[in-house]
């Protein structure tokens, strides 16, 4: 924001209060109420407003406290903002960002705990990222702000508590670029957001197999080459997602890999997901609902041992 006057921030309680999760804390004091704008509870006007301001040359960063709230205003992003470049034949573009909190694990219940990446990843015209740690959040958000298209950044609530080093000196990352967090031989595990640390933890338990763990970072566009290269080596693909089985980026990734590396794959692709159910509130249930390192180990081990996709853990009694 310092380097460009065009960047503004808007959303409910982003200003004086610093955001529901305190992500924008201190920004209004520093940049003033002109640039850090508290809005009414009007998601359609926030997204549409950000879109209009972006067309007019600003770089608005809109916040939606929980991704579910986009459900009252999805039109503005996926039907309007995403099509402006196309419908103007490239004469107009929409350099806006939507930052929003996603995911479960804290007992926010059925209407405040989903990821819903498929609401956005399915739209040509949008870009979608999902940082896995503070350093990622910093670099991805920068990329998102400077990009000339609408970008959605899905920030996992579970990571807001994380404290980590942010490397300000790193050369800029590239949009759509994944990173391999750990190198192994037997299986490729692809994850994003909070599931990256789950996948890493699983890989580090000495499970009897070793894994490439890839942090996808971007869900649209996603890093086909890096994933393919890894699976070409290991012959086995596992995706770990916080989403039900009939949605989520894991399906796209799995199918693309299948289609491209068919004859080199040893086993069917395994998707580790949540159950096809709303997110329950009670801790003992939500714990069982979400993938964790133990479940991932169990699922991957079973795949590698039997050569076929195991029942998910919630199906065992």
């Amino acid at each position: 924001m310092e380097s460009d006057e065009c960047v503004i921030v808007l959303g409910e309680d982003v200003g004086a209060a610093g955001g529901a999760f305190k992500v924008t804390e201190g920004l209004q004091e520093r940049f003033g109420v002109r640039r850090v704008i508290d809005t009414p509870i009007s998601e359609t006007a926030i997204l549409g407003g950000a879109m209009g301001a972006a067309i007019a040359g600003l770089r608005p960063v809109a916040e939606m406290m929980f991704v579910e709230f986009a459900g009252v205003a999805l039109d503005q992003l996926v039907t309007e903002a995403a099509t402006v470049r196309y419908l103007s034949r490239g004469q107009l573009n929409v350099p806006m960002v939507l930052r929003t909190a996603v995911g479960g694990g804290q007992g926010f219940g059925a209407q405040h705990s989903q990821v819903l990446d498929h609401w956005f990843t399915s739209s040509p015209g949008l870009k979608v990222a999902m940082p896995a740690d503070p350093n990622s959040a910093y670099h991805i958000t920068r990329l998102a702000i400077w990009d000339d298209d609408p970008v959605v950044v899905l920030e996992h609530k579970g990571l807001y508590g994380d404290r980590g080093e942010v490397d300000l000196e790193e050369p800029p990352w590239a949009i759509g670029e994944a990173v391999t967090m750990r190198v192994g031989q037997d299986v490729t595990i692809v994850a994003a957001g909070a599931m990256v640390s789950v996948a890493l933890a699983a890989a580090e338990t000495n499970p009897g197999w070793s894994a490439d763990v890839i942090d996808l970072r971007w869900l649209r566009p996603w890093d086909v080459d890096q994933v393919l290269a890894s699976v070409a080596k290991t012959g086995v693909l596992v995706t770990v997602e916080e989403a039900g089985p009939s949605a989520g980026w894991g399906g796209d990734v799995s199918l693309t890999v299948c289609q491209t590396l068919w004859s080199r794959m040893k086993f069917p692709p395994l998707r580790v997901t949540t159950p096809d159910a709303p997110v329950p509130h009670a801790q003992e249930l939500e714990r069982r609902f979400l993938p964790n390192a133990e479940y991932v180990v169990q699922q991957v081990s079973s795949l590698l041992e039997t050569g076929s996709v195991p029942l998910p853990w919630w199906e065992y009694r």
Partner: protein
């Protein structure tokens, strides 16, 4: 003679002023309990407390007969208790226990009991408003005399669903009452920052709708205004928009201490406490000692309910999270 459920009996308990006073105290005590349970780490997710606004829920519940339906927000503990839900069921749910009204699956933002007319409370701002309109549509369709209630905050008057719902209810003349709990803040934002009007009931004009404001700290005033609105609706004369001017004592949710509000402002409102106002009316003299007595009694009831809600229980069956998704 049919035997009434405890919840139904509790609803009827609001017929008397003493019953109303006791219920308001109960709401306050439950909310304070929840606040301390939250601090003690017993509660996950959000909680949105109702302290300060008790007269609105109790006023509404005392004029809404069984058979009416209430579509309410995440700030719903008070409404649930007022409508008749037992403290155990509220506290259990907020704590994610199987003793809760829906077995811990919902949590603080999703209380529900169809037997007292409470739909699962809505965690998306404004989402409940059109649903109440739909319930009213069904009621009009059947020429039933039940009425639907949409309870919403001041901040919710800026969301599209509010506008669409009021317009549709008005043009169709449906038996629904829209109750704005104007507590002057939407989360951390004072109404003035987000809304160019102080008197939200004036938005009724845009829909040619009967509208009025009422002192939300005075349970009698609330009950009277809502009873009138209800008769109007039940008589087939259409919806009303009633703005109850009120105040929430605590912050918006969880750990918010509400520090963005001046001590003066808080003090002014606390001096018009709905419990105090009704107690004075009931006992013109010596109300404070009698009130303390009642508070003591309720407190020990709530303490018992809390213990009951948190009593050791067998673990929730894991299959619960996969049930009741479709029929």
């Amino acid at each position: 003679m049919s035997i009434e459920s405890p919840e139904h009996l509790r609803r009827r308990g609001l017929a008397s002023d003493l019953g109303r006073l006791k219920r308001m105290i109960e709401i306050r005590e439950v909310e304070e309990t929840i606040q301390s349970l939250y601090s003690a780490g017993e509660i996950r997710g959000s909680t949105h407390l109702y302290s300060g606004q008790e007269a609105v829920a109790v006023g509404l519940a005392s004029v809404a007969p069984l058979g009416d339906t209430v579509a309410c927000t995440y700030r719903g503990h008070g409404m649930a208790l007022a409508l008749g839900m037992e403290p155990t069921a509220v506290i259990g749910e907020v704590c994610g226990r199987s003793t809760g009204c829906v077995g811990g699956i919902g949590g603080s933002m999703h209380l529900c009991d169809p037997s007292i007319g409470l739909l699962p409370t809505f965690a998306i701002v404004g989402a409940q408003i059109p649903v109440a309109v739909g319930v009213a549509l069904a009621s009009a369709y059947r020429a039933a005399d039940s009425v639907a209630w949409a309870v919403l905050g001041d901040g919710a008057t800026n969301i599209g669903a509010f506008h669409e719902s009021l317009n549709m209810a008005s043009v169709m003349g449906l038996p629904v009452v829209f109750v704005i709990e104007n507590n002057l803040y939407g989360e951390y934002s004072p109404l003035r920052w987000t809304t160019p009007l102080d008197d939200l009931f004036r938005r009724g004009e845009a829909y040619d709708m009967r509208a009025a404001a009422v002192d939300g700290q005075d349970v009698h005033a609330v009950a009277e205004a809502l009873a009138e609105a209800r008769s109007h609706a039940a008589a087939g004369r259409g919806p009303s928009l009633i703005e109850a001017k009120t105040y929430r004592y605590s912050g918006h949710s969880r750990s918010d201490l509400g520090l963005y509000r001046s001590a003066d402002e808080v003090q002014t409102w606390v001096s018009r406490d709905p419990i105090g106002i009704l107690a004075e009316r009931i006992w013109p003299e010596g109300h404070s000692s009698r009130l303390s007595e009642m508070v003591e009694q309720v407190r020990s009831e709530v303490r018992a309910a809390t213990e009951h809600a948190l009593r050791p229980m067998p673990p929730i069956d894991k299959v619960e999270m996969l049930r009741h998704i479709t029929g």
